[in-house]
């Protein structure tokens, strides 16, 4: 009779694995000793040492399994047999896609151009982590899926079926390279846009896009939406302002009501906006403002920013 201890291990071992009871019975009947001293968690021992079955059709003989777990003195005899069995997913079965691989591939393919992370796969199909990892590896080697970088979670691996191109939600759109923002490219485009607007005095979106196309600033042709994004960013930078055409004066060539863009004021590109009254004294930029009191530890009398400012 198996002891209480072995029973609890037995049920834990079998959880989620759906192994035939007979197989496990055999295992425990042979009074298999688990080297718990080296591996305190019997489950982890099993998961790393007992290869899972690929299908139910040919249950492996218990002896093989058991011998694998036997103490080293007994193991010698069955070593040759075991290694022969272990070679099963060898070169011969390379082109064959297993059941699990099929399911995993199906899940990834269903996600289309969004792809899926391993975590998402696990949620959809109830299969152990290690199996999924394995499937992914073999699918990758068979070029059925590919790994893509996602801007949402750059640390986590993301997989996509080979026939799809990653969607803009994954890559972040045209402004992202390898999952991170291409700031240099954006800044160059911004400056070029500003120069075009400055040259034209008042410009419409189409005008700016045209001018950019003619000057070959970017090797890749920019869509109208991309130009708009750049110009909108310039507006947020307070370099350019958005105005509606009045149809008179400088807007003479533009229909009334059309949105146009104009450079702001007299400063050049990258010029700082006018410094406000509060921003021009240390308190304006002080991160400790809320802790500053007339006679506290942080006070105008002891302030280090003031010290620096009034250093004559």
């Amino acid at each position: 009779m198996p002891s209480i201890n072995t029973l609890s291990y037995r049920s834990a071992f079998n959880a989620g694995r759906k192994l035939p009871n007979s197989f496990i019975d055999d295992l425990f009947y042979h009074n298999v000793k688990f080297p718990f001293k080296n591996s305190p968690n019997p489950l982890s021992y099993f998961s790393s040492h007992v290869p899972c079955r690929q299908s139910n059709r040919s249950p492996p003989p218990c002896s093989v399994r058991a011998t694998h777990l036997l103490p080293s003195s007994c193991r010698q005899t069955s070593k040759s047999r075991m290694s022969a069995k272990r070679k099963r997913p060898g070169p011969a079965s390379d082109s064959v896609v297993t059941e699990h691989e099929k399911t995993v591939h199906e899940v990834i393919r269903n996600k289309k151009d969004m792809g899926a992370s391993q975590w998402e796969m696990k949620r959809e199909i109830n299969v152990a982590d290690n199996i999924i990892t394995k499937c992914i590896k073999s699918l990758l080697s068979k070029n059925l899926i590919k790994e893509v970088k996602s801007i949402q979670s750059r640390g986590r691996k993301h997989y996509m079926s080979a026939e799809f191109e990653p969607s803009s939600e994954i890559t972040g759109g045209a402004w992202y390279v390898e999952g991170s923002l291409d700031t240099e490219y954006i800044n160059v485009l911004k400056e070029q846009c500003w120069r075009k607007i400055y040259g034209m005095k008042v410009a419409t979106l189409e005008g700016i896009a045209d001018a950019l196309k003619r000057s070959n600033v970017s090797q890749i042709e920019l869509s109208k939406q991309q130009v708009e994004e750049i110009v909108k960013a310039l507006v947020l930078d307070n370099q350019v302002m958005e105005v509606k055409s009045t149809g008179t004066g400088e807007f003479a060539s533009i229909p009334v009501g059309k949105v146009c863009y104009k450079c702001i004021g007299k400063r050049g590109y990258g010029g700082e906006p006018k410094l406000g009254a509060l921003a021009s004294i240390p308190c304006g930029a002080c991160p400790q403002m809320s802790r500053c009191t007339p006679d506290g530890i942080i006070s105008p009398n002891t302030c280090v920013y003031y010290q620096k400012w009034l250093d004559f």
């Binding site: 949620r123 923002l181 947020l236 906006p273 509060l278 921003a279 021009s280 004294i281 009398n301 009034l310």
Partner: protein, 524 residues
């Protein structure tokens, strides 16, 4: 509502100008709202006569206004009416701006007027006799000559609305009737909650103010001096106010010559603030448009100023193109401007709508100009404190005026998706943004979105409080730098004095500039 640091600034000002006792009474009134004499005595724990004297000083300097609150008949005995005292926060803070006021007068009028205004600023309220007595003590001329000169200066100041008759000492205010209360409650729901208290201060000031006709009238002189009525003749529009003025002229016998000596005069802060407001508008437009547009705007301000009833006016009175041109060519820099240039300048001005054009007449959109200046001020703080990415995000939210989702903000501002929430969180923590969490239960899991928004009203209060805080810091630092103990340090005397001079100059000029910012958020 007065911001917390605003009260601290006001108390600091009163302490340096009138000492601790007066400041104590003033602080009590500022913090607790209107109080009777007895209540003030109880709260300040001073003697009755001390409080009385302090209140007299504050009233003399227009920092406190007395009023009688008459309870409505429903409450029973109507006779139960006590005199209450209310601190006028704005007038206290105006004490910072005396130099600015003097500069304005020196730019517009002669030295005699500047001297007279200085005396009024120093003493709060003066009668004509006191003014001439003061002049006598400084000048060695005949009594009549001095009296004439003083009177002339007073007339000039009155015509420019720089000084005014003092308000009634104890106006009677009736409690709002039921209808009014319910109307106000309804309004309060849509407006800010603190409207109630402000209306009391406003109501008291309104009730105390002399009628528009008498306000700028020196009784002895029925005919304004030759250069006097300039303001009236300049504007082609006859306002109802002017008609009332004429009516009042006829009834002036009530205020006989005997009264003349007792009438108290004081500085009309409102007019100065109005002029500073106009100046701020011109400065703001100057940074955006060329000199021609600025000249036209100046002319428009000059032409419409006398018709403005209160400081915080949204729009000026509409002017026709012809009357604008007439005004433009009056000024020196406008003399070489052609009619067409004025028309072009007006088009330029209406592009970001500083000027609203309707039916061939033009009016200045003060509200828009001031709002733009306020936005610029806040944005520059954000830029300085949180960097360029935060600046872009803040501008996006401020311009859109509604809730936006974190990822949308990241896309529009070209900031890394991971960095965006960090920056937004910093802004939120310091009360520059409002955040709302939105939880959506999807097919399989609960997803949470963060939405962000700029609430301009709350933000304005917050920035104003920070500005008062910074102003208080500057004042405190000046006092600290000039402490006499510093002389005991091992620094050579001339070096110390040199340093003190530089530090003081920098701190005080910064304070003046900061005060412009405070006016932008509080007074304009």
């Amino acid at each position: 509502m007065v911001p917390l640091y605003g009260i601290k600034c006001a108390v600091n000002l009163i302490t340096t100008h009138f000492g601790d006792l007066v400041a104590k009474v003033c602080e009590c009134l500022l913090r607790k709202g209107p109080l009777t004499l007895q209540a003030t005595v109880r709260f300040t724990e001073l003697t009755s006569s001390q409080v009385k004297n302090c209140l007299l000083v504050l009233i003399q300097h227009n920092c406190v206004q007395a009023f009688v609150l008459e309870l409505s008949v429903e409450h029973g005995d109507a006779a139960k009416a006590n005199t209450q005292y209310i601190a006028l926060f704005d007038n206290i803070i105006h004490r910072w701006r005396f130099n600015k006021f003097l500069t304005i007068v020196s730019q517009n009028l002669d030295k005699q007027c500047v001297d007279l205004l200085e005396a009024l600023l120093q003493h709060g309220r003066l009668t004509l006799k006191q003014m001439s007595d003061r002049a006598k003590s400084t000048q060695n001329e005949g009594d009549d000559v001095i009296l004439d000169a003083v009177q002339e200066a007073v007339i000039k100041l009155l015509n420019a609305h720089f000084i005014e008759r003092c308000p009634a000492s104890e106006p009677v205010i009736t409690n709002p009737t039921k209808q009014e209360v319910s109307a106000r409650k309804r309004a309060a729901k849509s407006a800010k909650i603190f409207e109630e208290q402000e209306t009391l201060e406003q109501r008291v000031v309104e009730a105390a103010a002399p009628s528009e006709a008498l306000r700028f009238l020196l009784v002895a002189q029925t005919e304004p001096a030759a250069d006097g009525g300039k303001d009236e003749t300049n504007s082609s529009i006859v306002t109802p106010g002017e008609k009332r003025k004429r009516d009042a002229l006829e009834s002036e016998t009530e205020y006989g010559a005997a009264d003349e000596q007792v009438v108290l005069w004081r500085v009309n802060f409102e007019e100065f603030i109005r002029r500073l407001r106009h100046k701020a508008c011109v400065e703001n437009v100057k940074t955006r448009l060329d000199d021609g547009a600025v000249t036209v705007l100046k002319a428009m301000l000059e032409a419409t100023r006398s018709t403005e009833k209160k400081v915080k006016t949204d729009n000026s009175v509409p002017l026709s193109l012809n009357s604008i041109y007439e005004e433009v060519i009056k000024s020196e820099e406008g003399r070489n401007i052609t009619f067409d240039r004025v028309r072009a300048a007006l088009i330029q001005l209406s592009c970001p709508p500083f000027v609203i054009a309707a039916n061939e007449s033009y009016s200045i959109d003060f509200k828009k100009i001031i709002e733009l200046a306020q936005n610029e001020e806040v944005e520059s703080i954000v830029l300085k404190r949180y960097g360029r990415d935060a600046y872009r995000m803040f501008r996006l939210l401020s311009n859109s005026g509604h809730l936006l989702e974190t990822d949308k903000i990241a896309d529009a501002t070209f900031v890394e998706k991971k960095e965006t929430p960090k920056i937004l969180y910093k802004l939120w923590k310091d009360d520059y943004l409002q955040m709302e969490k939105l939880q959506v239960t999807g097919a399989k899991r609960l997803s949470q979105f963060l939405l962000w928004k700029v609430n301009k009203n709350i933000l304005r209060e917050h920035v104003l409080n920070e500005m008062f805080h910074a102003a208080l810091n500057l004042v405190q630092r000046v006092a600290f730098e000039l402490e006499p103990e510093k002389e005991m340090l091992n620094i050579p005397r001339d070096k110390l004095i040199n340093r003190q001079r530089k530090v003081r100059l920098l701190l005080e000029s910064s304070h003046m500039k900061l005060d412009d910012g405070i006016m932008l958020f509080h007074d304009f």
